[in-house]
Symmetry: C2
Subunit: 328 residues, 2 copies
């Protein structure tokens, strides 16, 4: 890394929380060499169309096309297609807006034409005018599934259809053992100065990325500084079922559980100031801990958090005694 340029930053991220943090980096002083590795394990077929919720959330957020009220989907949506599919007898519990359908139609067409999913994601992102690369961890089909008392269901069924209500007994990523990492993901990790794991759901967003054979090894080999941001604040998840799923996966549903999950993977963990009481417990598991305000309500919050993470990285890698415990 050239001292005068931005560090080469690679972020591993899921959907809504990942997109918020990505937006912070993309609008920060450190946006020049940013790339994102997204999650494809929540992908699912709806009406024969390939829907990739987390990748689309990244694309829509970073190009300011996201519905800010919902945090997902496109602005200015309508549901003419979905209403008609329902009238024709289709099961329409998954909300898909008309403009969003265009994305899924295009993606599905390109998949059937044999284009690599990584290339498709790039092409769609470019069509939306995005200049931050979104990289897929794998071109293979992997899928998060959740075991409830009624058996295994796809994550979107649990998350959307059942509103996260059923108890989660177990989680798995179907197809993960046979998946191959994309050369783009391995290259990005190898070239990174800094790898940031967004405050996304560790079980269904980050674990499917880390578990693609070759990705975890690439992270271990990488000399990049690795930092994760806790998605759990005061023992709760900001959005989604991360707490419930951490428990099902055998972790505590708090920053200590997050520290356990990322122990051995990252050099640093960012925890919210509300969790300052856990600092010493977390420090037993992770070398560097940054305590700050991690809640991202607006773009200024997001940029401030991104820049404080880069500053912490610069402090650590300058081999100064890290003074990471700043107030939020």
């Amino acid at each position: 890394m050239n001292a005068h340029s931005s560090p080469n930053i690679v972020m591993l991220c899921g959907g809504v929380g990942g997109a918020k943090m990505a937006e912070g980096f993309a609008h920060s002083r450190f946006a020049d060499n940013l790339s994102l590795i997204g999650n494809v394990a929540d992908d699912q077929d709806f009406h024969g169309l390939w829907v990739s919720p987390d990748i689309d959330t990244l694309t829509y957020t970073l190009t300011d096309n996201i519905d800010r009220n919902k945090g997902w989907g496109l602005v200015d949506e309508s549901n003419r297609v979905l209403d008609q599919l329902k009238a024709l007898g289709a099961d329409t519990w998954m909300y898909l807006g008309d403009r969003d359908f265009a994305t899924h139609i295009l993606r599905t067409q390109l998949r059937h034409q044999g284009m690599r999913p990584t290339e498709i994601a790039r092409r769609i992102a470019e069509s939306f005018g995005l200049d931050v690369p979104i990289i897929l961890p794998t071109d293979d089909v992997i899928q998060n599934q959740v075991k409830t008392e009624n058996g295994w269901v796809a994550f979107q069924d649990f998350f959307v259809k059942w509103g996260c209500q059923p108890d989660v007994l177990e989680c798995r990523v179907v197809g993960i053992d046979q998946a191959e990492a994309t050369p783009e993901a391995l290259h990005a990790i190898a070239q990174a100065d800094m790898i940031v794991i967004a405050p996304s759901n560790p079980i269904v967003s980050i674990n499917p990325i880390l578990s693609v054979p070759g990705i975890r090894e690439a992270l271990e080999l990488s000399s990049a500084f690795k930092v994760a941001v806790s998605p759990l604040v005061a023992g709760q998840t900001v959005k989604g079922p991360a707490d419930k799923m951490m428990l099902a996966a055998g972790y505590r549903a708090d920053v200590q559980g997050v520290a356990d999950f990322y122990s051995g993977v990252v050099d640093a963990l960012v925890i919210d100031q509300q969790d300052r009481a856990y600092l010493s417990a977390v420090e037993q598991r992770i070398e560097h801990v940054l305590v700050t305000d991690t809640l991202m309500f607006n773009r200024a919050n997001k940029v401030r958090l991104a820049e404080s993470i880069v500053h912490a990285y610069q402090s650590c890698t300058a081999r100064q005694t890290p003074e990471l415990q700043q107030a939020g």
Copy 2:
């Protein structure tokens, strides 16, 4: 056929003109035993979705969901999906409305699931509430192509994208020699008392049905009374490029050309009263000729035409001296 029931009527039909005539029969006193064999040679892939224009026009017309101003497409349409596909760089010359997209999405999904196209057409028609069977002549992919000075193009390209402007040098139905007739089509023809060929384009709507191996032979074997309605009136086509295509296929672009085309196929031809001057020329080619008003502007026209055709059939099959030359 029981003397007190409606004759078993099978209609071969294309899109807009075929749907108008089908509507006439469906609302006539002879609707009880009506079934339609539609045209699939204008089917085409758009955005990876399987679009079947003629079959949809039949379904939408017969269930009163058709846009009456255009004669095709659904009422109450919008174009949110198409606009977004265009924004993403897709080629969107083929108009597809949002509600219509639902049909194509469902059809494509069912095709990928392996359902027979005939079964899919039935399922979609039933979802729209249609009780008249729409039968496909074949489950195989066949496609009308038109040769222009720029080479062979699919019919929809010629018809919609190029607005029928280029000169037509030649027409062909790709895949027709390998196509297999559906058992439903063969059964319907075998059971028919009367086979009506709608005033559809002979070259791109009727010829692809007749040319599916087995269909023409089934018609020849059938004891049904066969009657075609001329799509050309006063040397012009009511809608579409039938005149141009008749010429390209080596026929005159008038009722004499239509009579040549259907000579040996039908027992009777219905020609418009405006073509009364051609009566004797047509009678040299076709055994029975009904001269009447064939233009269908409203439902009353359509029903009247349908019933006059059945009456002509009843006259002929009662072996009375046919008095078919009624005024319109």
